[in-house]
């Protein structure tokens, strides 16, 4: 068995370490805010579409935002959400459903196109069609088969920090050597101070099995990927509590373990890498690889085959179902 922890971000840590070191070296270094004259920017349609085994298709349509445009509630209401699109999902089984714009607690902005009838099934391919402002966009994704992890437990974050009050979650699984697998994991916390509405995807948000094909490995999960949209609607105290990286006594942690297809993985890994290191001034930013066909479009249409676990503070493992 091997233990990989947050190995995925090693290179970023080296680079960032060197950046920090260089900054420390620069006795006289100074920073000044500057105005940047950007090229003209036209907003693009952003398609955030997911379909999961046993769940409806959920598609959020938004517009991308000019970089120096301030984003606030007024801008969201007037410019961000696209509410007049036609969204259709068809399956490789011939099933077809028109999605309806509705309140959706699982969507970051609470409003999304949701399939009223169609539910995701394993080993099935789904095609998304979006028509908006006279343009049409297409994408295809496949929900692979589900898998089961071996176990999940709370792990000590450090020998140095207080091991009684700060822990991470480790999960252990055995990779299938017969196929290429693309994994992602996410956590939700329920505790006295707050309950997560959205899944938090730790870093890296996705990875493949090239490094550990066919072997048993374990993986550390922190609450590293939490953003403002996760805490929207929380009180200040709840928001502060939710931003912590580690888990505390009394936490119930839900773990979602997913497999996806290669194109979904490509989007998740490039998007995740960009989200972490995109504006590192020492790295050339890499484009996020979308699986959507069409002009001036961003985002992806991703299928997930997911299973769930629920763990309590003291190494109690149980399954969590919806």
């Amino acid at each position: 068995m091997i233990n990989i922890g947050l190995f995925g971000s090693w290179w970023g840590r080296v680079r960032m370490g060197m950046s920090v070191l260089m900054a420390a070296l620069l006795f006289g270094a100074c920073e000044t805010e500057i105005d940047v004259d950007l090229p003209d920017y036209g907003s693009k349609l952003v398609i955030e579409g997911t379909i999961e085994n046993g769940q409806p298709a959920i598609v959020t349509l938004t517009n991308s935002i000019p970089y120096f445009q301030e984003l606030n509630m007024e801008y969201i209401q007037n410019n961000l959400l696209v509410q007049d699109a036609e969204v259709i999902v068809t399956s490789s089984d011939g099933e077809r459903d028109s999605l309806i714009l509705q309140f959706c607690p699982d969507a970051p902005l609470f409003l999304a196109y949701v399939s009223p009838n169609l539910r995701g099934r394993e080993n099935t391919t789904y095609t998304l069609t979006v028509r908006s402002k006279g343009k049409e966009y297409h994408a295809t994704t496949t929900i692979p088969h589900t898998f089961d992890i071996d176990s999940a437990w709370f792990s000590h974050l450090s020998d140095i920090l207080n091991k009684d009050t700060m822990r991470t979650v480790r999960i252990q699984l055995t990779d299938d050597p017969a196929e290429s697998s693309y994994y992602s994991f996410a956590v939700k916390v329920a505790c006295p101070k707050f309950t997560d509405r959205l899944w938090v995807s730790p870093v890296p948000v996705a990875f493949d099995d090239k490094t550990f094909s066919g072997i048993t490995f374990n993986f550390e999960l922190e609450r590293y990927g939490i953003t403002m949209l996760h805490t929207l609607g929380m009180s200040e105290a709840q928001s502060e509590a939710a931003k912590r990286l580690t888990f505390r006594p009394g936490d119930t942690v839900y773990v979602k373990c997913s497999l996806m297809d290669y194109n979904s993985y490509r989007f998740m890994i490039t998007g995740g890498t960009e989200a972490i290191m995109g504006t590192n001034p020492f790295l050339n930013p890499a484009p996020v690889v979308s699986n959507i066909e069409g002009e001036n479009v961003l985002g992806a249409w991703c299928g997930f085959a997911s299973t769930f676990k629920r763990i309590f503070w003291e190494d109690t493992v149980g399954y969590y179902g919806r």
């Binding site: 190995f7 840590r13 080296v14 060197m18 920090v20 070191l21 260089m22 900054a23 620069l26 006289g28 100074c30 920073e31 000044t32 805010e33 500057i34 940047v36 950007l38 090229p39 920017y41 952003v46 955030e48 991308s64 935002i65 000019p66 970089y67 120096f68 984003l71 606030n72 509630m73 970051p108 450090s158 140095i160 920090l161 959205l198 995807s201 990875f207 493949d208 090239k210 490094t211 953003t227 403002m228 929207l232 609607g233 200040e236 928001s239 998007g271 995740g272 890498t273 989200a275 995109g278 504006t279 001034p281 020492f282 790295l283 050339n284 930013p285 484009p287 996020v288 985002g299 992806a300």
Partner: protein
């Protein structure tokens, strides 16, 4: 071209001068040295003027060993030996038979009143057929203002037209649009793979140990190879053959000391020189306990050594070595995060010079180059080590043959065995769990070159430098090539046994440059060259860092190929007091390599060359240069207008983009005024460069609650320009034949320009939890490195 044809061509080429050998000729040959310390003088002119026909002049330039050879018809000649900053020797000599004479030139420093910018004959720039070659004397480099008062070879050559700096904090330099890896840096003929100390703030070359610096940026002679853009040839001093000498300097963060002298007077000498920074020691008492630098190593040092043995009139041996190390570390106040970075450079060379005959000179050398980088990082339970490096073992033998005064022919063989260590990685992510990262095995390669080069004086007006270089490059086992499927998953592997040829390339590189003398003050020069480069350094970062690894050409990574054309007009004025030139260039580059976009972490399992994508580049520009070479007021102004683009099918949607260091305008002004000749001088430099290009965020969006940035086309945005004024005062307090002391006062960045080192972007989020109001706002910040920095250095010599 087939191998057989290439060999035949080379043999024919070598035999060509025989056809022009005339009878009844005698040869004057020997060496030219500095009378004060016995150092060989490279680049001195030896000219014979026929007393019967004064218009008939024959001459040559001394090579790196100070050797010269001039063949002329029997007769009486006026011999002139000329080297700037030295007294000219003039004497009449009757040549009835071949004669060997060694000369020692007296320094002209005391008698003269000039400050020398470059160690060349006054009209060298007009007479030579070298189009893009510039030599800088170390005295000129030392006279320039410098950061912290430390004279810097690399910073000085960045002042020359066509040579772009990467900016502060960047160890690389860029020649006519080429990459940093396209510059071959030689220290006593050994390749130097990393020229930087302190992340590029200083170079590894200790000015006290350097004798002279030679830069070739176009019209590259055939005896140089292996790089596509430029050659920077640095020679260490040989050591004083006459007397013991100690030079030193004490500065604010540096001190340096050089000791040299004879083992046996006029027969054998040594030189040992060293530098060390001590900022880490000086600042410790002032650091708070929680400072990231408290108790951490934070320094660099280097050592140079040279030994020189004159066995007899015909044989001479040189041994040179360099070793330098940088060590930097920090830790967080909690002690959870620690990091240490180390890199070391070493070179060693042994050279044997043999004057076989008055017309034949043999230079044989063996060199060793070493570069190692390692980093250790600890972040809580996560520990990570990364190491990389390269070793070169080289043997070179070159014959210089001067059959007639019209020909100076060099031909030789050069073999380099490369051992690249692209990535040694280890990680620990738990208390008792090591993750066995796949360690990359060393890459082995052999680069064998043969070449011939002739400097041919066709007539008084026409001169031709022509050459041919042939290289056989082999990537050798042991090696495992992984075969990937369409999804990048390893589907198979091929194992090559140790010594087995994995891939090989045979390349021929023709080099040609020609000079047409319009009149004694004006010449036209043109060159056309083809260069191949078999070693590659691909940087993942936007700046050149010590982490960048070297890789040999493989079956996937073809050798880089660069064609360059250059055309220049050179004109001197007022008896060579002012030198000017305009030089136009165009380059086409093939098989350039960059990292693929969107690498994921599993790539550690595959071969590193599978991470790269390949493309092409273009570069064009015009260089303008004016220099005042003599008088109390000296200096130069250089301006380059340049364009550099790249095109990769897999980057930027296949669209061409500006290179990172595409600089539209580059201006360098260096001026020196001798207030009191050789006692007090003031100098100033001003540089201006168009800002670097960068890829900048233009928009953003959300996916699954995460904020994702959308970027511009690659390198579409241009940072603000870089400019800076430095001044220095050099004051020689006392100078006698036995003791010399002086002070150097420097002010770096006089008008405190906040030059961009990098631009970074920050997202501010404000949330009002009660009202659900929030705001996300992005801002851009510019990080600047050096403000105005005054410094003082005390120098001494006895």
């Amino acid at each position: 071209m087939g191998k057989r044809h290439s060999i035949i061509l080379l043999i024919m080429y070598c035999l060509l001068p025989f056809m022009q050998v005339q009878g009844q000729r005698v040869t004057l040959s020997g060496t030219v040295r500095d009378a004060t310390n016995g150092e060989s003088l490279m680049g001195a002119y030896v000219i014979l003027t026929d007393t019967a026909r004064p218009q008939d002049k024959q001459g040559c330039v001394t090579n790196q060993a100070g050797f010269y050879s001039v063949s002329v018809p029997r007769g009486t000649y006026k011999m002139t030996i000329n080297y700037l900053s030295f007294k000219t020797i003039e004497e009449f000599i009757a040549l009835e038979k071949s004669v060997k004479r060694d000369f020692e030139l007296e320094s002209d420093i005391i008698a003269g009143d000039e400050v020398i910018i470059q160690g060349e004959r006054a009209d060298h720039n007009i007479a030579s057929a070298d189009v893009g070659r510039m030599e800088m004397k170390i005295e000129a480099i030392k006279a320039m203002p410098a950061l912290m008062g430390e004279a810097d070879v690399i910073k000085s050559i960045q002042m020359l037209p066509g040579v772009m700096s990467g900016g502060e904090g960047n160890s690389g330099y860029y020649v006519r649009g080429g990459g940093t890896d396209q510059n071959l840096v030689l220290l006593d003929e050994a390749t130097v793979y990393n020229t930087s100390h302190l992340f590029g703030f200083f170079s590894i070359f200790n000015a006290d140990a350097v004798k002279n610096v030679d830069l070739v940026k176009s019209g590259m002679p055939a005896y140089y190879g292996g790089r596509a853009a430029s050659i920077l040839n640095v020679y260490q001093k040989e050591g004083n053959l006459k007397k013991y000498e100690v030079d030193g300097g004490i500065g604010l963060i540096f001190s340096h000391l050089t000791v040299q002298g004879p083992f046996k007077k006029n027969k054998a000498s040594f030189l040992i020189s060293g530098r060390r920074t001590y900022a880490d020691l000086l600042i410790q008492p002032f650091l708070k306990p929680q400072s990231p630098l408290k108790g951490m190593k934070f320094y660099f040092y280097d050592l140079n050594a040279k030994f020189n043995i004159i066995i007899n009139d015909k044989h001479r041996l040189y041994f040179g070595a360099y070793y330098g190390t940088d060590t930097y570390g920090f830790k967080s106040s909690s002690g959870m995060t620690k990091a240490q970075f180390m890199w070391s450079n070493a070179t060693a060379s042994a050279r044997w010079n043999y004057i076989i005959s008055p017309k034949l000179f043999l230079n044989t050398s063996t060199t060793f180059s070493y570069y190692d980088f390692s980093t250790e990082m600890g972040m809580d339970v996560f520990k990570f080590k990364l190491g990389s490096g390269i070793r070169d073992y080289a043997l070179k033998s070159e014959l210089t043959w001067m059959p007639t005064p019209k020909h100076n022919i060099r031909f030789g063989v050069h073999n380099v065995f490369h051992q690249c260590l692209p990535g040694q990685i280890a990680a620990q992510a738990g208390i008792d769990n090591d993750f066995p990262f796949p360690t990359q095995k060393p890459y082995f390669a052999n680069e064998l070159s043969i070449y011939a080069h002739d400097e041919f004086d066709i007539s008084r007006r026409w001169k031709l430098n022509m050459g041919l270089r042939y290289t056989n490059f082999m990537h050798l086992g042991a090696f495992t090539r992984y075969v990937l499927d369409d999804f990048g998953t390893i589907s198979d592997s091929i194992f090559y046994r140790p010594g087995e040829i994995v891939s090989q390339y045979n390349r021929v590189e023709p080099r040609l440059s020609v000079r047409f003398l319009i009149d004694s003050m004006t010449s036209l020069k043109a060159s056309a060259t083809l260069n191949h480069q078999f070693m590659h350094q691909i940087s993942m970062a936007t700046i050149s860092l010590p982490t960048d690894v070297w890789m040999p050409s493989t079956d996937l990574m073809k050798p880089q190929m660069v064609m360059q054309f250059s055309l220049g007009v050179f004109r001197n004025f007022y008896h060579n007091m002012f030198e000017t030139y305009v030089d136009l260039y165009y380059k086409k580059m093939y098989n350039l390599a960059e990292y693929r976009d969107g690498l994921d972490f599993s790539v550690l399992m595959i071969n590193p060359d599978q991470l790269y994508t390949f493309g092409q580049g273009w570069s064009a520009g015009a260089e303008f240069f004016v220099k005042k070479a003599r008088g109390r007021f000296t200096g130069f102004i250089g301006y380059t207008l340049g364009f550099t683009r790249r095109q990769f099918d897999e980057l930027n949607n296949g669209n061409p983009f500006w290179a990172k260091y595409d600089r539209r305008h580059d201006v360098s002004i260096s001026l020196t005024y001798d207030i009191l000749p050789h006692k007090l001088s003031v100098s100033a430099i001003w540089v201006y460069q168009t800002g670097n290009t960068m890829t900048i965020p233009i928009g953003y969006y959300f996916y699954m609650g995460s904020y994702i940035t959308e970027f511009s086309e690659r390198n579409e945005y241009r940072m603000p320009p870089y400019h800076r004024l430095d001044i220095a005062v050099n004051w020689t307090i006392k100078k006698t034949s036995k003791f010399e002391t002086g002070l150097n006062f420097s002010i770096y960045n006089v008008y405190n320009r906040k030059n961009p080192f990098f631009i970074y972007l920050e997202t501010n989020t404000n949330i009002d939890a009660n009202s659900l109001n929030f705001a996300i706002e992005n801002k851009a910040f510019q990080m600047s490195l050096f403000p105005i920095i005054p410094s003082v250095t005390w120098n001494f010599k006895f």
